[in-house]
Amino acid sequence: MHAEIFDRFHEAESRLHRLDPRVKVVVTVLFILSNALLPDGAWAAFGLSWLVLLGWNALSRLGVDFTFRRSFVALPFALAAVSAIFSPIGKPLADWSLGPLVLIPTDYGVIKFVSILLRSWISVQAAILLVAVTRFPDMIHAFEHLRVPGVLTTIVAFLYRYLFVLTDEVMRLLRARDSRSAAEPGRRSGRNVVWRACVAGNMAGQLFLRSYERSDRIYNAMLARGYDGHLRTLNPHVLHPSDWAYGAAAIFILILLQLVGRF
């Protein structure tokens, strides 16, 4: 019983997989920054940005539409930008009145909304690709090399570690409950919502108790084997000239993107 739903790494043999994780992290962060900095309505630049992403997809050998197929998880978050449509600046396009509420979408607002949507959609895909081609310990290692404070990297590393322990525990609890969730013919099973909610609440309590105790045991076992606050990996992470070249090429493309977006 192992929850592997959170492990987003996809094994493949590609240049992108072999690229130094530091380069991948820095380029991804810069790519997201570049998307954020592109002016509203810079359609050509957005398109180009997307092409860059497709190129990376192809480089990863995971399929050109790999990140596209996984990008819809971010869609609900885009709803937060809906209010941008009704920007007070710009030419009114319509007049929607919902009872006492009057909503006026403007051309400027729509452009802003679509731009936000594109920016976040492309950026999310870059992040999806990053975690698909980088092993988690390598990513943490990269953060450490990039001088991200140790407390933060440790929190992220443990969060990831215990997420699996926790979901395994949840699966066991659910399995036990399912096993005894029976019914007799002619009788309504499952009692009522309140009772089921109480059971679920008790289970959550049990989950807390157990994972708390288990995390203690795991931590003790880690200490017993000499854990000193650093997650080690066998990859030496030496920046080769080709890594530098990839990083430089990517940054050059991003600068080009910004120029296209602005002029």
């Binding site: 609890l173 036990a176 409950r177 096993s179 029976a182 019914a183 007799e184």
Partner: protein, 251 residues
């Protein structure tokens, strides 16, 4: 491939209405590991059967199929009722599955609530639930523990409570996964007496060959996802070649 040996064919007791009928069960885990390769077996009312075999033989996987937690290819009938997704609640009322680790079994704060969960979920009236909890705890000799916190019991006590949680549902078939693992001699002895006295059909997976010898007239040997022997316990325990080939030792 597992080595099979000619074992004196077990004469199935003639019975009306099998408690359990498994026919050609296949199962692979999502990672591609094949756990069951065509398992078939029958259990009659009152049968007490030991399921033995090395780690990874598929014993636990088979057990998780019996109440529909896992679903592979093949047919399973419990008490004449074919297992299918819409019949799961009815099947789960008939099959009492006790997990190897009692911590996996118990999920309520107190012993009483845990034992009462099954009957309450089945929608039984309150006095019947209380009566069932009392008799289930009585059967595992844990009546005094009703209001205790399950979290703080010893392994042996938890094990008995875990058995009580399914006894309270009046199952037709009791399925136990390594009940004697991790018990001290006294707790193990108590468990043996308990299982001996329970008048329920049971299928018990175990590595404890002395337990097998003492409690179960019939033994099924599994290896590599298949049943390699099914017969009288005394015959199987005498067949040293068979035991050795499948990583088992006579107690």
């Amino acid at each position: 491939m597992p080595v099979t040996h000619p074992v004196k064919k077990y004469e199935f007791p003639e019975c009306e209405g099998d408690v359990l009928h498994v026919n050609d069960l296949h199962f692979s885990y999502p990672d591609g590991h094949v756990a069951l390769r065509g398992v078939s077996l029958r259990l009659c009312e009152g049968d007490k059967v030991a399921l033995v075999g090395p780690n990874g033989a598929g014993k636990s996987t088979l057990m998780l199929h019996l109440n529909g937690i896992l679903g592979g290819g093949g047919e399973i009938e419990i008490g004449g009722l074919r297992l299918s997704p819409d019949r799961l609640p009815a099947i789960r009322a008939m099959v009492g599955l006790v997990f190897q680790n009692p911590d996996d079994q118990l999920f309520s704060p107190t012993v009483f609530e845990d034992v009462a969960f099954g009957p309450l979920h089945m929608g039984l009236p309150e006095d019947e639930v209380r009566a069932r909890v009392d008799s289930a705890l009585e059967a595992v000799r844990m009546s005094a523990y009703k209001e205790r916190l399950s979290h703080h019991l010893s392994v042996g006590e938890k094990k008995r409570i875990a058995i009580a949680t399914v006894l309270s549902m009046n199952p037709k078939l009791l399925v136990l996964d390594e009940p004697s693992a991790g018990l001290d001699p006294r707790a193990r002895r108590t468990l043996i007496h308990l299982l001996r006295d329970l008048p329920i059909t049971m299928l018990v997976s175990t590595h404890d060959m002395r337990l097998v010898q003492e409690l179960f007239p019939r033994t099924i040997v599994m290896d590599d996802g298949q049943i390699v022997a099914d017969g009288l316990t005394m015959d199987i325990l005498e067949d040293e070649k068979l035991l050795e080939a499948h990583g088992l030792e006579k107690g």
